[in-house]
Symmetry: none
Subunit: 132 residues, 4 copies
């Protein structure tokens, strides 16, 4: 698995990792039961501190996407939908609001933004993460 970290991004590194792995799981690139790269290995690969990776992984565990066995590693869970219906909606809305903020702040029209969302959505589902 290859994750690209964008240094100049506004998003913190650990968030970028969470996002990236969430996508690889969501698209099935990382299948249920598979192990994630070890904390130290990924940290070395990305040339960042292991704690930063650990923080990202901890968030994935919290959200139920990933489980951990001490001494063995992190595994993609089969369990899903940890959150209640309203909570899922709340979180989706939060993400969307953040997107809208970005879009409006940069003068994209709603149509431009929506088109791009649709486009990337299809790409994500069709061509799971074009990296390997």
């Amino acid at each position: 698995m290859r994750i690209r970290i964008v240094a100049g991004s506004s998003a913190p590194i650990y968030k970028q990792i969470v996002d990236a792995i969430r996508r690889t799981i969501a698209t099935g690139e990382l299948a249920v039961g598979e192990t994630l790269p070890s904390v130290r290995q990924l940290a070395k690969e990305l040339v960042i501190n292991p704690n930063t990776v650990a923080k990202a992984y901890a968030e994935l565990v919290q959200s139920g996407l990933v489980e951990t066995q001490a001494g063995r590693g992190f595994f993609v869970t089969k369990r899903r939908c940890v959150y209640s219906k309203t909570e899922r909606m709340r979180r989706l809305d939060e993400s969307i609001q953040s997107l809208i903020g970005q879009a409006i702040a940069m003068d994209f029209t709603p149509d431009e933004a929506l088109d791009r969302v649709r486009e990337l959505f299809e790409k994500a589902l069709r061509n799971p993460s074009h990296s390997n």
Copy 2:
């Protein structure tokens, strides 16, 4: 001009101000050459620290939307784009990718997510950031 600050929002207060003013300018509510409310007045109105308003104004100046003349106040300047097209696109995509990861990970279908994006977008434009 009236700006409503949402305390519980995830967006920092100064950011909310920046966005709100950006939109009042975009919609023409605040025309080129007009003056913004003074820092102290707006701070009093919103019951927040003047430093926070000052910071928001500084960001508007920085982005080129607003100019300041010492002792006279802040003025709407002629609009110009700050980010290059590719830079804008890159930043937008970043936000979108994050949204998609969230949505798929929480088992929302693309249609559900897109509909919600459209919905919130319209809401945001109809009722721009609680300012009116």
Copy 3:
């Protein structure tokens, strides 16, 4: 608010903090909207590293009991039931299994353990945390 940290405990410090605060919230000792002690202050009080407190607080945020506003502090949320029904059950069972493991390992009879659980439950609800 007073939290006692037990050095010799098998539970990690940050877990003890989570538990303690969870209880003060659950019993209403810390009411909705109230602010938690600041990270640095609590760290100083407990003579531990601020990061450890921050980790505990982060877990409370994740579980929806607490919200944060950067620069202002941590607040008790009114939102509840972040988790789905099955997830709540799963988490409850996990806690119970852990308890049962302890109890059996130390040769408590089920009746002894159950009585004690009942007793402490009543105490918790009746006499919110006998500390202030």
Copy 4:
């Protein structure tokens, strides 16, 4: 003797072995003076690392439940209590407090929680740790 190891369990493998054997001794399934399965045999049976079994046995020896005679194996020793009464109580209470925090925070009523505790307790005793 048959011990089932649950890979996905939160409890470490060696701990599961310790608990399982402790219970076979408590129930008399393994009588005083009897020998435990050899480290290598049990490891092979459970398809785990012999070190893990060795560690479990070491803990049993440490707790006084089991003795070892070099070259001959591990034997069940006469039972004695390891922890003082107050120490046992303190540890149990710790686990219970944690459970109560969880339960109340997730809006379970004491009755719901207690019923579940009782239920899982009975299940645990009827089917002691998947060994039989």
